[in-house]
């Protein structure tokens, strides 16, 4: 029993290593096809963000620490700052530095990596 469990664990760890090679620090990487994302926005959308103020509508963010997780991932994108979430409305407001190379897919990926689903990007100002 113990040997079988160790073997199973080894397989999990191997999968972990191969997966982490694909995804770590690659917020541009496409989402694996076998993932369930509900109605999330595509993570391979190359459309550049031109607005300087955005509202990101997010699903699945249920606790205060979830917010910090998402905030950290968003602010790692170049030119993104001032992430603030309205938990009641599930809406993150962010500022984008003019000319920053951020795409809609980057935003969807960052929210996905944080553990949640981005369903809509609303441009507040350009």
């Amino acid at each position: 029993m113990k040997k079988q469990m160790l073997l199973l664990l080894g397989l999990c760890l191997t999968a972990s290593c191969s997966n982490s090679n694909q995804t770590i620090e690659t917020t541009d990487a496409p989402m694996p096809m076998d993932r369930e994302i509900g109605d999330g926005l595509p993570q391979d959308d190359p459309t550049l963000i031109t607005a300087t103020s955005l509202a990101l509508h997010i699903r699945g963010m249920s606790c205060p620490k979830c917010v910090t997780n998402a905030e950290i991932q968003l602010e790692r994108l170049p030119g993104i700052s001032g992430a603030m979430l309205d938990m009641g409305g599930g809406t993150f407001r962010i500022k984008v530095k003019p000319g920053a190379p951020v795409t809609r897919g980057n935003l969807a990926r960052a929210i996905w990596v944080a553990g949640f689903t981005l369903v809509e990007i609303e441009e507040l100002s350009s």
Binding site: L6, G60, S62
Partner: protein, 257 residues
């Protein structure tokens, strides 16, 4: 174990719909490059199997979890016995990986997740453990339901007290229910929440020992810090190879950076 007991545990487990409680795992994890250190102190009242005397045993858990990729995390945990009952020992460290293989975000505050976790206790033998956990959060309610298996170990600082320390492998069915007490509804300015928790656990050791525990708790969660406390009481037990738990109190703190 009676059919009625198993039925009651399963009913409670499945009826319940969470955030992460103090003892029961959840299909939650830090995102890549984020770290969560956590300290949990447990006081366990037990009946000494040799003298029948009631004693208190203390256990201090310190862990560090890190997100390594989307839906993958790793955790290193150290466990130390506290010197309340003339037992002080450093247990072997645990290394654990967790992979969230399913998630479906159904609404603003509505989600379902499942994760598998496993690892080893790092001693001469690398003793493995594995578990599966389901988490559902819907508005103010959260539920975690998990099943796990771990290699038994032998207590080296006196008669065994904890489940799995009498040498036999340990199976565990666990569930927790969390209810957000405050705020009733999240608002733009919301930055913390209070939860009432109920945790239940059914550890079964392959030497035939089992117990069913149930207990209330409280959880405060801010943007970076969380404090938690839980009281665990036995509902039914049939234990012949280790000390019988009379009560257990756990107090914890974790942060995120």
């Amino acid at each position: 174990m009676t059919t009625r007991t198993v039925g009651a545990v399963l009913l409670l487990s499945t009826a319940a719909a969470g955030q992460e409680a103090i003892s029961v795992p959840a299909a939650t994890m830090p995102s890549p490059g984020v770290f969560i250190p956590r300290v949990v102190t447990q006081l366990i009242g037990y009946s000494d199997p040799t003298t029948g005397e009631s004693k208190v045993h203390g256990v201090q858990n310190a862990s560090l979890a890190a997100g390594i990729a989307a839906d993958w995390s790793v955790m290193l945990k150290f466990e130390t016995s506290l010197n309340f009952d003339d037992r002080k020992s450093q247990h072997d460290p645990h290394l654990m990986f967790k992979h969230r293989f399913y998630r479906k975000d159904l609404g603003i505050i509505s989600t379902e997740r499942m994760a598998v976790y496993g690892g080893v206790e790092i001693d001469d033998n690398l003793d493995p453990f594995l578990g599966l956990v389901y988490t559902k959060i819907d508005g103010r309610w959260g539920t975690n339901l998990g099943i796990s298996w771990e290699t038994g170990e032998v207590a080296n600082d006196g008669p065994p007290i904890l489940a799995g320390h009498a040498g036999a492998n340990l199976w565990k069915l666990q569930s927790s229910v969390l209810y957000r007490l405050f705020p009733e509804d999240y608002r733009t300015t919301s930055d913390h929440a209070w939860y009432a928790t109920v945790e239940t656990s059914l550890p079964y050791e392959e030497n035939g020992d089992w117990e069913w525990t149930l207990g209330p708790g409280i959880l405060y969660e801010g943007r970076r810090h969380a404090f938690e406390a839980n009281l665990r009481l036995p509902v039914q037990q049939d234990i012949n190879h280790r000390a019988e738990t009379e009560w257990a109190l756990a107090i914890g703190w974790r942060t995120l950076f």
